[in-house]
């Protein structure tokens, strides 16, 4: 018998899976216990569906041969989520770290879980999972609503058509990619205003800037932006000169991956 055996619970190191479950539960309780997060998600969902109806009605009124670009039947389904889901969800991604830095709660968080990569991974899993669930549900719902309205004009698509399921899945993945990018930026920048500005720049403004660049640069640089890559994976009509859908999907994975890797390195090095 050793002295240590008096307090076996204190000396036994819990299994990695147990610790992972604990830190996931930690971040999940924190996410779900702020009412504003639910309000934001519900408001985003309602706005996205509502605007999808408006877009689909407009698209349904357009003659078939003119139904191109954002009013093309497939893209019209996802047009609303670009602002009404992705923007609010990205703000929540930013706030996951910046609100803790602003209040000082981050020090309590790191005192509870000193392994900072673990905190980042748990936040990414919980937020990314929630954004993926919300994104996919909304993508399918918006697709079905939009196609129901478009079918009146014989423009409606069905999920069985080639390329359509992939486009819907990819559209549903976009909020997840953006929330994780925003999460990383929040951890790196720490101030809410700065991180939201950076997130909007990365998610929207960079692609917007590329649209006005002269010819070769517009696509050469643009194809690596979230906006152009998003178009490639969910339009059903990938443009030539940009990356093919599979490579564009990698672009959409690379942005959050890089943001999170830099965030992890910064969190691990910096004083809390």
């Amino acid at each position: 018998m050793t002295v240590a055996s008096i307090r076996p619970a204190r000396t036994r190191v819990p299994a990695l899976a147990t610790r992972a479950r604990d830190v996931l539960a930690f971040e999940w309780v924190k996410l779900r216990s702020v009412r504003a997060n639910w309000v934001t998600a519900l408001a985003a969902a309602a706005a996205t569906l509502g605007v999808t109806v408006i877009v689909a009605r407009t698209a349904a009124a357009v003659p078939a041969h003119q139904a191109t670009g954002s009013l093309a039947p497939l893209l019209a389904s996802f047009l609303a989520s670009g602002e009404y889901t992705i923007l609010p969800v990205s703000v929540l991604g930013v706030l996951a770290f910046t609100s803790e830095y602003a209040s000082g709660l981050i020090r309590t968080t790191f005192a509870a879980v000193p392994h900072r990569w673990a905190v980042l991974a748990a936040k990414a899993a919980v937020l990314g999972g929630a954004a993926l669930a919300l994104g996919e549900v909304l993508a399918f719902a918006c697709f079905l609503v939009a196609q129901a309205l478009l079918s009146g004009s014989h423009l409606g698509l069905s999920l069985g058509q080639p390329g359509v399921p992939g486009a819907v899945l990819a559209a549903g993945f976009l909020p997840c990619a953006c929330v994780l990018t925003a999460l990383g930026l929040g951890a790196i920048i720490r101030s809410t205003a700065g991180a939201i500005t950076a997130a909007v720049a990365v998610i929207y403004a960079v692609a917007g800037l590329c649209l006005v660049l002269p010819a070769p640069w517009k696509t050469d640089i643009g194809r690596f932006t979230i906006g152009f890559a998003a178009y490639q994976v969910m339009s059903g009509h990938p443009q030539r000169g940009l990356l093919p859908p599979a490579a564009s999907m990698l672009v959409l994975i690379a942005w959050p991956a890089v943001a999170l890797l830099v965030a992890g390195a910064v969190l691990a090095r910096r004083d809390a």
Binding site: T18, A25, F26, S103, G104, A111, P114
Partner: protein, 324 residues
């Protein structure tokens, strides 16, 4: 047990903690004293693995904080009571911390009751007074029933009842064998709570001694003497090597001898004595002397800076006093 070994923390040109070594032992309340900006909070952050020391090591129970798998079961801490998110209820705040370290829900209810917060457990923290947030922070620190507790200025913003409650809690925890480490910039407060004091100034150790030693003979103090023949008595005392100063109201403040010797001397020479009072130094005075020394270092360039006296000595404060 908390052990600091030669911990230094620099922020650019500023040295917040300067070669600090001390040990905080279980079974007693250890006060961590120093003026604002002395480096108390930085030291506590280093102990909790929040800030990395530039050099040196800080260990809790023989291990670095960052190596604990479930640290809340080892160390409970409260650095800043207002560092909570207002949108969350008290119960959810505690629940999130409990699950993070595999602590059961029942314990959340327990610490809510322990801190008297159960009636407001379902209220959002933004509506809490600072005193209630302080209780919430202490509840969070107690969640894992840890053997080591670290509190930064725990009685700030508390009313008299709250202060008494915290004092009692700290004493109980120490009596039960916990290691209790609490910081303050108020000596008077620490004098009533702590068994042992660690005093720092400008990041350096100034004193590390039992609280009693701060008021004992080594800490100084004087004897107040009143006599109608004060002049004669002063000459006699000075001839015996005592230091005599005249107080504002005509009394004599005598140091370097004790009350009995003064009385004997006066009786032998037939000098009437109207008052003879042994005065312990006020803790505040001892503390000001100690930290005054650390503010004096500030006026010197880094090259001229004399090394801070190590360990138990209360001498630095007295030297400063004598030097004035």
């Amino acid at each position: 047990m908390i052990e600091l070994a030669r911990v230094t923390k620099r922020f650019g040109a500023l040295t917040a903690v300067d070669d600090l070594s001390f040990t905080v032992r279980p079974g007693r309340v250890t006060g961590f004293l120093g003026p604002n900006g002395a480096g108390k909070t930085t030291t506590m952050r280093i102990i909790l693995g929040l800030d990395a020391p530039t050099t040196g090591t800080a260990l809790v129970a023989g291990r670095r904080y960052r190596h604990f798998a479930r640290p809340l079961r080892q160390v409970g801490s409260l650095l800043d009571a207002s560092a909570v998110q207002g949108a969350r209820t008290a119960r959810d705040h505690l629940l999130s911390l409990a699950v993070s370290n595999g602590i059961g829900r029942a314990r959340v209810t327990e610490v809510l009751a322990l801190t008297g917060l159960d009636p407001v457990a379902g209220k959002r923290v933004r509506d809490f007074s600072l005193g209630m947030k302080q209780r919430l922070g202490i509840a969070a620190a107690m969640l894992g029933d840890p053997p080591v507790l670290i509190f930064d200025e725990p009685v700030n913003a508390l009313d008299a009842d709250g202060v008494r409650w915290i004092r009692l809690l700290m004493r109980q925890l120490a009596a039960n064998g916990h290691t209790v480490f609490i910081s303050s910039h108020l000596m008077s407060e620490m004098a009533q709570t702590a068994d042992h004091l660690i005093v720092i100034g400008r990041g350096r150790l100034l004193a590390d001694a039992p609280t009693a030693q701060f008021t004992g003979p080594a800490a100084g103090g004087d004897v107040l003497v009143r006599s109608p023949r004060a002049g004669d008595l002063t000459e006699l005392l000075r001839a015996r090597g005592a230091a005599v100063a005249v107080t504002g109201d005509g009394g004599l403040s005598v140091t370097g001898t004790d009350a009995a010797a003064i009385a004997d001397l006066a009786a032998a020479r037939g000098i009437p004595v109207h008052e003879l009072t042994r005065r312990a130094p006020s803790l505040e005075q001892v503390y000001l002397n100690l930290t005054g020394a650390s503010t004096e270092y500030r006026a010197l360039g880094p090259e001229d800076r004399t090394p801070a006296p190590e360990g138990r000595a209360l001498a630095p404060g007295r030297e400063t006093e004598d030097g004035r």
